[in-house]
């Protein structure tokens, strides 16, 4: 029983961190542009495919894996730049209906492109060699790859949080997010800041795609699992709030995996219940406002 619980907590953490890797870019772009990018998950998938194209399905070295992930980040970041230029920039002052429709169209477009380029086949990509081991600690099996995902989530969170809260660039970005009118009047080029935020957000999606590629069945449906968690985490965490998304991701990961222990017959329902309860009790999120 205890072992079952420890394992549930561990896999919940892994799931939560994976969700955070997807949620991070989503909440960042919302915080600054107030655009909820429905296509975020497809760019996550694109990152996974790019990484797969570089690595193939066999185990690579850790260095090759990280480099390929980074390359995916750059490619998807570039796609973000193009998306900003063609779509987001035109949506800055529009109603949210338009942004929903536009990003939904983008989702369909990118999914279609991925299907054309890579086809519909499922592929299984193995983790890098060093991460293929499983440790047996305190009675439970701990896959090295899961530890890696947790570590990656924490590292991404710390970099983002430090970048936004402590650095001058981060404070400037927050100024644009909180009061773009004043920022512009103070001589800040909002357009550059916003474009940079979009590029970073997409890079995060691409990197998440690479990092989470191993052990998933890679197909155009990749990411659906994390995407629901990520969107929920972004809402519960307070739209636009990176810290909130981080905490909410962990909570949701834990809720999801603990509920599979408690309610094995009702898979997935706990997340929706959590979302509904949260929206009723605290609609503004754990933290409100961009951070």
């Amino acid at each position: 029983m205890l072992l079952e619980w420890s394992f549930a907590i561990f896999s919940g953490l892994t799931l939560g961190m994976a969700a955070f890797l997807v949620a991070a870019g989503l909440t960042l772009v919302f915080g600054i542009l107030k655009i909820l990018n429905f296509a975020h998950g497809t760019f996550f998938m694109l990152g996974a495919y790019v990484t797969y194209s570089i690595l193939g399905t066999e185990s690579a070295s850790m260095a090759a894996f990280l480099l390929a992930t980074l390359a995916a980040g750059v490619v998807v970041g570039g796609a973000g730049w193009a998306t900003d230029l063609v779509i987001f920039r035109r949506l800055r002052d529009s109603d949210y209906h338009y942004t929903l429709i536009a990003t939904f169209a983008l989702l369909l477009l990118i999914t279609g492109l991925v299907k054309i380029i890579w086809g519909l086949d499922f592929r299984l990509v193995r983790p890098p060699e060093v991460l293929e081991t499983t440790w047996f600690i305190g009675g439970i099996f701990i896959p090295a790859y899961s530890v890696f995902v947790i570590a990656a989530g924490i590292v991404v969170f710390l970099i983002l949080d430090f970048g936004l809260q402590r650095s001058w660039i981060g404070k400037t970005v927050q100024s644009v997010a909180r009061d773009p009118w004043m920022a512009e009047v103070l001589g800040i080029n909002n357009r550059v800041v916003m474009t940079a935020a979009v590029v970073v957000s997409f890079m995060l999606a691409g990197i998440a795609g690479g990092l989470l590629l191993p052990n998933q069945s890679l197909s155009p449906a990749l990411g659906d699992v994390f995407l629901l968690l990520a969107f929920t985490a972004v809402i519960i965490g307070g739209l636009g709030n990176v810290r909130g998304a981080f905490i909410a991701s962990i909570l949701l990961g834990l809720i999801e995996s603990v509920s599979t222990v408690l309610l094995p017959d009702l898979p997935g329902i706990s997340i929706f219940v959590a979302l509904i309860v949260f929206i009723l009790v605290r609609p503004q999120g754990i933290f409100s406002g961009a951070q």
Partner: protein
């Protein structure tokens, strides 16, 4: 140095300013008086190109700047201190001042910000405080300090005396005059406090329903009490 000729300003469909012409010369200090809703803030926003659609010519230092965005005008030497202060809560007082300084390194900006804050009695000990933790009056002072930090050639002040105690308003007038003189800054001041406006400036415009209804020196303004009576009395 600033010349507006027959500008019309719109917020979306609503037409707010009508054929407004106004000039501020080098180092000159000019006041704009008008009732609530007369269009004072809209005028300043039009000069900055911040949130308004402007038709007509806006010349800055002899150059047509109609195409320049707000941030470019700010970098080009115009600073706007908005009526609603808009201090950033996530930054310290000092950072709030430093962020206005463009074109220098962050450490230089922070040093300059410290110097400016040190010279303002109300704020001199508050540099490390978060922006949101100041009183309304302190925030008002901070907004002015932030405007000065940009090292502008023209500062646009939108009702800076609002919410300040009379004795502070009195000091502020002297302070603004001496700072503008020392740094050769021209001033365009929107006010409802006639005493304060008169103390700070040499030329006055009166605006009503988006139109300029008076343009002259304070002596000429005094000779026409009916202007104040008609457009400024509440």
């Amino acid at each position: 140095m600033l010349e507006l000729s027959n500008i019309d300003t719109f917020y979306g469909e609503s037409h707010i300013l009508h054929q407004v012409s106004l000039a501020v010369h080098d180092k000159q200090r000019v006041a704009v008086l008008g009732r609530n809703g007369a269009g004072k803030s809209t005028l300043l926003k039009s000069i900055m190109n911040a949130g308004t659609t402007v038709k007509g010519s806006v010349k800055w230092r002899g150059r047509d700047v109609s195409k320049l965005k707000a941030y470019q005008r700010a970098r080009d030497g115009i600073a706007l201190v908005p009526e609603d202060r808009r201090i950033y809560n996530h930054m310290t007082v000092q950072e709030n001042v430093a962020i206005a300084r463009q074109g220098v390194s962050r450490s230089v900006a922070m040093t300059e910000a410290r110097a400016i804050l040190g010279s303002i009695e109300m704020l001199s000990t508050l540099g490390e405080r978060m922006g949101g933790a100041l009183s309304g009056g302190q925030q008002q002072m901070l907004a002015v300090a932030r405007g000065l930090a940009a090292k502008p050639e023209l500062i646009l002040l939108d009702e800076p005396t609002e919410g300040l105690a009379p004795v502070i308003v009195e000091n502020m007038a002297a302070d603004i005059i001496s700072r503008c003189d020392a740094n050769q800054i021209a001033l365009l001041l929107c006010e409802q406090n006639i005493w304060f406006a008169r103390k700070c400036t040499s030329h006055v415009y009166v605006i009503d329903s988006g139109r300029i209804v008076f343009d002259g020196s304070w002596e000429q303004f005094a000779e026409k009490p009916e202007i104040a009576e008609r457009y400024l009395a509440v």
